[in-house]
Symmetry: C2
Subunit: 634 residues, 2 copies
């Protein structure tokens, strides 16, 4: 089965499909991304794990070399995440010999690098044996263990390398012994182990893993980690998880923790965990999420900001946080069946996640700002105005690898008397519904067009329900079945079509996809007087490359009196749909501050081209902005 | 003489007054600050140097204890800066026994802590002797040495402890030996030594000090420091100082470096250094300075941002940077005589510097944002919404101490045939002008009122010129001499009154001081649609304390149709002039993002009180904002 596989007894509303029950068509956008991930991103990650010493670190831990440890102390996690991605991909592409050998070699290496007691962490084995388990606020030991577990779960669920689970279990058993009931009362500074142990429980049915995950959640928020450099809220240790009212601190840590809270909540039936997660979702999504679905407003501590503190230029918007949000929302969707979580997955996927990787699949953003100014200088790798091949802290590229390789697992669910399609992509899903095999083939140019054509093949002779999500951005849509229009009001975000499905029945869902001018809540001071252009799930942006030479992007205004049109530009083949808008060029004075504001003066009109945000930076490194100031009129 | 005392041969336009030639009346605002500094801030700093181990570190370095080093590795600099402040103050208050004993004891302690070779740094002596001189990008060794030198210069110029100069010279001689011609080609990661050595040259006339300062400038920008954590631009080592086109990196480092460039430039007659400093001034002031005169837009590296990146909420605006800007502008003013530098001193002093210290003189901001949101959380001490008594990195409080203790030295200059008054404050200045003694007594309630009354006492029987600055914020003013109006057009920012001054002649300068609505350059996206209220040199702000209970500050709008009035509120005795404005309360919806913007809806009007920005946070810790969104009208 797919990433996140609740046990039969879990308190969930929806059930994921199996890993072979969904498929992305490589002709569609998501399928093409997945293909690129297989052909470029994963091999690129593997190459870089070799080039940057991650593999050598494990060899040293296995006693096979005397090399010194290199890289970040949590470098093993990059290996684990790449391995997880490779495992998911190998299930789809079993004939890929190079992928096969990476999975086989790495699994064997991890087994050799593991200590007799089950411990497996090359940094602490090679470079700092005396520090083992002694620096929980900083060490990332359980974080790395968590990613090992997730790799093992993927390798086992897909069947590509079930024996990796034995390595993970040896380590997990050590954790249960050390941190379980009666053991050390500690938590890890970087959450991740919680969701991983819940998944390992799901794979194995071994209850102590779930109990340990819960114990880690229960112990959190009691100040066990100490203040650290950024205070206990940085790693969500300032308040018990069930009592938290706001997302705080390091965004990736917060989001991984929330994923674990949902996992443990649904497996144990502990509603207080799910309630807390939904409460924090509302805080995050209603007060601290970028229009791209990105999380994290502050560079200093890679953290959430104050409510409505959402600067587009200094957005931290870490790639890993967008991925974590996607994974967390999937868990909430399974738990509750609420469309808002699928909406959030879609928003993050097509914007905050997609922007992180280049068209060639081999360069990545770590931070994904919504504005890059003329004259931008960034200090530090995460402030680059361009995608880089790799990072000294390389958490993001392998995270993309594992998400994209498992992406088909997030399209649809089966539950109750039906099949639910949450994300639209060319491909197909199969499932057992009401005791019978069901198949739905999807043809669509989504997200470029709003028409989704589905062909239902069902052997069931009883009625079942095909639920189709109507995205939150969509105000009008039409449904036809077998060519004939049907009245199908969306309820709670889904059109639900219930019938005995004759084999080959066609369903067409037409989502109207006008250009939207999006405004932010007025407390978001950073984008006052601006709009973002969006169409369907895609946020658009202006790039310097589309402006007349010499134009300063910061002086461009959107003319609100001119309609924004969507269309194709033949000279931009990588941008299937661009937007054309009316612009004005402001003519600012020289003074940084002036008394007695006059109305801004504007020069001649110009035509603006907006391109999908996720595609920016593939032509040049010039300035970019999502939020466009609107010219004052009248 | 005063802080910054160019040698007779220096290429400067203006000459500072002597340290006893200017005096602040404690009844005026600046005089009251200076009194508070003497009575509260300096003793508070001394207490904290004892409480936090700074003094103990020096005792350990002197071999008088076996205590371990505590605090930051550059903790000595806090001692040096406090000592500098104490020296300036002791010159004004020679009867202060407690100050006297601090100066005496500390001078003696520093002499004992100094090594036989002249080296003096308690961290490297006590905690890391093997690292001495080995970590220039990080060590702050020359930075600490620079502050020792500045303390010694103050103690010698004022005559309160001339023998401290011997300590400083022993260390400086070691630096000349090690880093001088033929010596190590190194620079310090934190500039400061350059301006300090120039000042030591001014004090002693010993040319090798100036040559070494120039050598450090010449060696900078050649990559000697390596990339470090934030890249070479962080410590201005990315480009030779004469070629820099933009201020970059850590703001305090940049500004101290610029001070050194001006000092060396005027003493050596090297115009390329002054040209570069003026070029960077234009970049800084026209593109990267807050309306409060504060510098530094980014928390992560305490650094300048991109051009026009001036977020009010995440303004770093370090206190030390504001002080450094004040000191740098003073040097530029002396060098060029251009009013724009005095304007900038005034802006920084009354806003960015003044805000850093509480009304009781014993609590301080490290970072001085222009907005603190409802629900603000800061990670790290520099993100507090309230002033703290002390900091683990305590650079700012003693920096305030030394500036305020020497503040009278920055009021006026004497040069050519006259006296120039740059900053208006109740007090008096004396100087020798055209060979005769001259005295000007100043009565004013500035900055609360724009009337400045001067009484000139002159023994000169030849004409000389009294130059009075007309601040850049002032559009209209009137001058009367001896009660009669005179026509006196300002030229280059100064009204110049030339005559044979009969003893006791009164001059009245009336600066009109209407409330100004200040707007920012439209490229400053962060404050689009907002105005700042200002009157005279003071920037104002809204504080939660002045809003009706339950009002969310972020929802307050300024009603542009209502006049803003200045006046006194009897219930706010600490705020001599407050502003009263018309407000509207926005009624935002719940959505963070919405399509199709409607015009913002507003509820009932309310009356807003704006208080001087520098006084915020003295009543409560509630939200605050300088930039106020303007209600859309029409």
């Amino acid at each position: 089965v797919a990433p996140v596989a609740p046990r039969p007894g879990a308190v969930v509303t929806l059930r994921p499909l199996g890993v072979h029950e969904a498929r992305l068509d490589p002709g569609g956008l998501l399928g093409r991304w997945q293909r690129r991930n297989a052909e470029d991103t994963i091999p690129h990650c593997v190459d870089n794990l070799h080039a940057h010493g991650n593999i050598a670190n494990l060899r040293a831990a296995a006693g096979e070399s005397g090399d010194a440890f290199t890289g970040m102390w949590f470098a093993d996690s990059d290996v684990h995440k790449t391995l997880e991605g490779a495992a998911w991909e190998l299930a789809s592409s079993p004939g890929d010999a190079s992928l096969r050998s990476f999975v086989d070699d790495t699994t064997a290496l991890l087994a050799r690098a593991q200590g007799p007691d089950g411990y497996l962490n090359s940094y602490f084995t090679v470079a700092a044996p005396d520090e083992r388990w002694r620096r929980p606020e900083w060490s990332h030991e359980l974080y790395c263990a968590g990613h090992l577990v997730q790799a093992a779960v993927a390798a086992a669920r897909t069947g590509v390398r079930p024996d990796l689970a034995a390595v993970a279990r040896r380590f997990a058993d050590l954790l249960v012994e050390r941190f379980g009931p009666g053991g050390a009362e500690e938590v890890c500074g970087h959450p991740e182990i919680e969701t991983a142990l819940a998944e390992l429980y799901r794979l194995t049915g071994h209850r102590p893993y779930l109990d340990l995950a819960r114990r880690f959640l229960d112990l959190r928020g009691r100040g066990l980690l100490g203040p650290g450099r950024f205070g206990p809220a940085y790693y969500q240790d300032h308040v018990p998880v069930r009592e938290a009212a706001e997302v705080t601190g390091h965004a990736v840590r917060q989001l991984y923790l929330l994923a674990g809270m949902v996992d443990v909540g649904v497996e144990t039936g502990d509603h207080t965990l799910l309630d807390a997660a939904e409460r924090l979702w509302e805080d995050a999504v209603h007060r601290r999420t970028y229009v791209t679905g990105a999380h994290g407003s502050r560079h200093r501590d890679e953290a959430y900001g104050d409510p409505y503190e959402l600067p587009p230029d200094r957005a931290y918007a870490e790639t890993c946080a967008a991925i974590a949000s996607f994974q967390w929302n999937w868990r909430l969707l399974l738990a509750t069946g609420r469309a808002r979580y699928a909406d959030e997955m879609e928003r993050a996927l097509y914007n905050a996640v997609a922007v992180a990787v280049s068209l060639d699949g081999r360069r990545f953003f770590y931070s994904n700002p919504l504005q890059s100014r003329t004259g931008h200088t960034g200090s530090g790798e995460e402030a680059q105005a361009r995608r880089l091949p790799w990072y000294s802290c390389a958490c993001c590229p392998p995270n993309i690898a594992r998400l994209m390789a498992s992406l088909h697992g997030y399209l649809a669910t089966a539950a109750g008397d039906g099949l639910q399609i949450h994300l639209y992509a060319a491909g197909s899903v199969t499932a057992e519904v009401a005791g019978s095999a069901v198949r739905v083939d999807v043809r669509t140019e989504y997200p470029w067009q709003g028409r989704i054509e589905l062909t239902v093949t069902s052997e069931a002779d009883t009625p079942w329900t095909l639920a189709l999500r109507v995205p939150d951005w969509c105000d009008a849509y039409a449904v036809r079945i077998g060519g004939g229009p049907v009245t199908a009001p969306a309820r709670d975000g889904y059109v639900r079509l219930t019938r005995v499905w004759a084999p080959g029945t066609t369903v067409v869902l037409d989502l109207e996809m006008p250009v939207r001018r999006v405004t932010a809540h007025p407390r978001v001071d950073a984008v006052r007087g601006c709009v973002a252009l969006a169409r369907g799930p895609l946020v658009y942006c202006l790039e310097q490359a589309d402006l007349p030479p010499g134009t300063v992007l910061e002086d461009v205004r959107l003319d609100p009196a001119v309609a924004v049109e969507a269309g194709r530009r033949e000279d931009l083949p990588d941008f299937p749909v661009v937007l054309t808008a009316g612009g004005r060029l402001a003519e600012p004075g020289a003074s940084l501050y002036a008394a007695a504001p006059a109305r801004e003066r504007h020069g001649a009109p110009l035509t603006l081209t907006a391109v999908p945000y996720f595609l920016w930076g593939n032509r040049s490194e010039g300035p970019m902005r999502v939020w466009i100031p609107v010219a004052a009129t009248g």
